[in-house]
């Protein structure tokens, strides 16, 4: 029974130690091979998230409310108003959603792309750069010019007159801007793509 003791004499490996070591190594290898299954459980991204399909020339439509899907008119918005909008026919892709805002044209200062605003209209991606909620409009009724974009989820605040610069809260980056103009029939049209990537910057 001496050689069955786990303690070996004169530093030699006993049969039992060898067998235990072998079983241990085999078990470890078996477990290691199981880890490859983790790859099966992590599907690749479909590339569907936040790839805007909006093109220059797309008309703006209401994103929600009773007029959802109908064309936006410049006369629908007063100074200090804002509305969520989609490009017509591309309302299934949330990356396309924009916050359309009307302020006084003279209010816009760089880093706003002033050549992409028209008659006081400016449009930014409505997907918050913090954690991807859809931003809201916090109208300042006393001074409509001082209204701001605010995300309802974690209160990130953006200044619409300064290129949607972050003025408060946890958002790491401004909202990308997209060019808009008022066409001859009074509807609103996109004139460019977004100025940057859409969605959270994590």
């Amino acid at each position: 029974m001496v050689e069955n003791n786990s303690e070996s004499r004169d530093g030699k490996v006993t049969r039992r130690q060898f067998a235990l070591g072998f079983i241990g190594a085999a078990g470890l290898a078996a477990f290691g091979s199981l880890l490859s299954f983790l790859k099966v459980l992590t599907p690749a991204k479909e590339g569907s998230g936040y790839v805007p399909t909006v093109k220059s020339g797309d008309k703006l439509v209401y994103a929600k409310g009773s007029r959802q899907g109908s064309l936006l008119k410049a006369s629908d918005l007063q100074i200090g108003d804002a509305v969520l909008a989609y490009p017509k026919g591309k309302t299934k892709n949330v990356a396309n959603i924009v916050q359309l805002i009307r302020l006084k044209e003279s209010e816009y200062k760089p880093p706003t792309r002033v050549n992409e605003t028209d008659e006081g209209f400016v449009a930014y991606s409505a997907v918050c750069t913090h954690l991807g909620c859809i931003v809201g409009w916090k109208r300042n009724n006393k001074d409509p010019e001082a209204s701001i974009i605010e995300c309802p989820c974690h209160n990130s605040m953006y200044d619409p007159a300064l290129g949607a610069k972050v003025i408060g809260g946890p958002a790491p980056a401004p909202l990308p801007q997209i060019g808009v103009k008022v066409s001859k029939d009074g509807t609103l049209v996109f004139t460019s793509g977004f100025s940057g990537p859409i969605g959270p910057k994590v």
Binding site: G49, A63, H130, G132, E150, H154, N155, G169
Partner: protein
């Protein structure tokens, strides 16, 4: 007759003598764990009902003429069944009560130092149970696939993605691709009704097995009772029949409270939230996630840096490192507060100034970060709120420590005089 028939085959009398005579200390604060267990049982029973009717898919189906995700439609149909909405609310309320009672149980064990040697293992299992229960709540959030579900889960997706180094991989593992993927709801359904309950059940079993083996701690006052002087280890009442009456009464009372709340207090009204749509409404998570939610609001967006190729973003700090740090601290406690001898009596929290004041500081942290979730309501700037949070925690810690110190000193002096 039946009991005799069973006893001849299963030796029930032997089982009864061995386990049902286990002593149970009689203190009401020892019942929090039982409340958690009963809530879990309620969750399983109502969950079976819901599982028969729920459809884990986001394929579009017609509901009253509108095309909505099948998961959402199936939950609306559950709500329309006789008692359907009540059972769904019982499920939701029980989840909240389970989490609340686990937290109360944890606080009881912490403040009375019942976690000390030899009960470190059960302390860790208990923390695991809390974590997994929160996981169950989180996966359950998504299942109705309402506007609220999708917004909340989307936030969680980006927090997961913000985990340094492994975020992308981890997010794809948990959410089965990039949320909202078609595979997310089936995966969450599987986690919620299969993997997590099995884990919970196993850990609850282990928790109780270790409890039976190690026995309860008991109030320190028991030391002086004559049974203890005569060498008896644990003073209390046997599981059968006395404790059994208390437990059954407690379960029935809990059911009464839960059914009453489910009947009269609306909860997660998915018909009001509606199916997923681009909405801009205030979304606050259930109360147990509010500390993380509030903490996320406090961190400035430009606070980010890179360590060894991993980006530490504000979301990672608020959503990963903050709760991770709290859990690690809790897990470390029985290894920091380490008596030489095994401890079987609990202690009066008023006589442990440091640990009790640390616990009070921790509770203040959770309370203040919860409050931070409402800075938009109170119109407080995040930077100001961050200062209030730090000041409140420091003040709670220092003041409670000093007061307890004075109290325990005077108490010890009093004892000394008596002796």
């Amino acid at each position: 007759m039946i009991s005799k028939w069973l006893d001849e085959r299963l030796e029930l009398q032997k089982f009864k003598d061995k386990f049902l005579t286990k002593t149970f200390p009689t203190h009401p604060s020892f019942l929090f764990g039982e409340i958690a267990l009963f809530s879990f049982i309620t969750l399983v029973i109502t969950g079976i009902f819901l599982g028969f009717l729920y459809e884990p898919s986001i394929g579009k189906v017609s509901l009253f003429g509108a095309m909505v995700p099948a998961a959402y439609a199936s939950v609306v149909r559950i709500d329309l069944l006789p008692m359907g909405i009540i059972i769904r609310r019982i499920h939701h309320w029980s989840a909240m009560i389970m989490i609340a009672s686990i937290i109360a149980h944890l606080a009881r064990v912490y403040f009375t130092s019942a976690y000390r040697k030899p009960r470190e293992i059960n302390w860790l299992i208990g923390l695991g149970l809390l974590g997994i229960t929160l996981g169950a709540a989180f996966t359950g959030y998504l299942l109705p696939y309402s506007q609220f579900s999708v917004t909340a889960t989307s936030i969680a997706y980006y927090i997961t993605e913000s985990v340094p180094w492994i975020g992308d991989w981890l997010a794809r593992l948990i959410f089965a691709g990039e949320f909202p993927a078609h595979a997310t709801v089936p995966r969450f359904f599987f986690l919620h009704v299969m993997l997590i309950p099995v884990l919970l059940l196993s850990l609850i079993g282990l928790h109780l097995l270790i409890l039976v083996k190690q026995k309860h701690t008991e109030p320190g006052a028991n030391r002086n009772r004559k049974e203890a002087q005569a060498g008896r280890r644990l003073i209390g009442i046997p599981v059968w029949p006395e404790q059994n009456y208390i437990s059954v009464s407690l379960f029935l009372f809990l059911m009464f409270v839960v059914v009453l709340m489910a009947t009269y207090i609306p909860l997660n009204p998915i018909e009001l939230y509606g199916p997923p749509s681009p909405e801009a409404t205030v979304m606050r998570p259930d109360w147990y996630f509010l500390p993380i939610y509030g903490f996320l609001k406090l961190i400035p967006g430009d606070l980010s840096f890179t360590i060894a190729g991993g980006k530490i973003s504000p979301e990672a700090i608020g959503g990963v490192f903050f709760p991770g740090f709290l859990v690690m601290l809790l897990a470390a406690i029985p290894f920091l507060d380490r008596p030489k001898e095994p401890q079987n009596y609990i202690e009066n929290p008023l006589h442990r100034p440091f640990m009790t004041s640390l616990g009070i500081a921790g509770a203040t942290l959770l309370f203040m970060t919860t409050l931070s979730g409402y800075i938009d309501v109170f119109h407080i700037a995040p930077s100001a709120m961050a200062i209030y949070v730090i000041v409140a925690i420091a003040a709670a810690w220092v003041i409670s420590y000093l007061l307890l110190r004075i109290y325990s000193r005077s108490g010890k002096k009093g004892e000394h005089v008596k002796n």
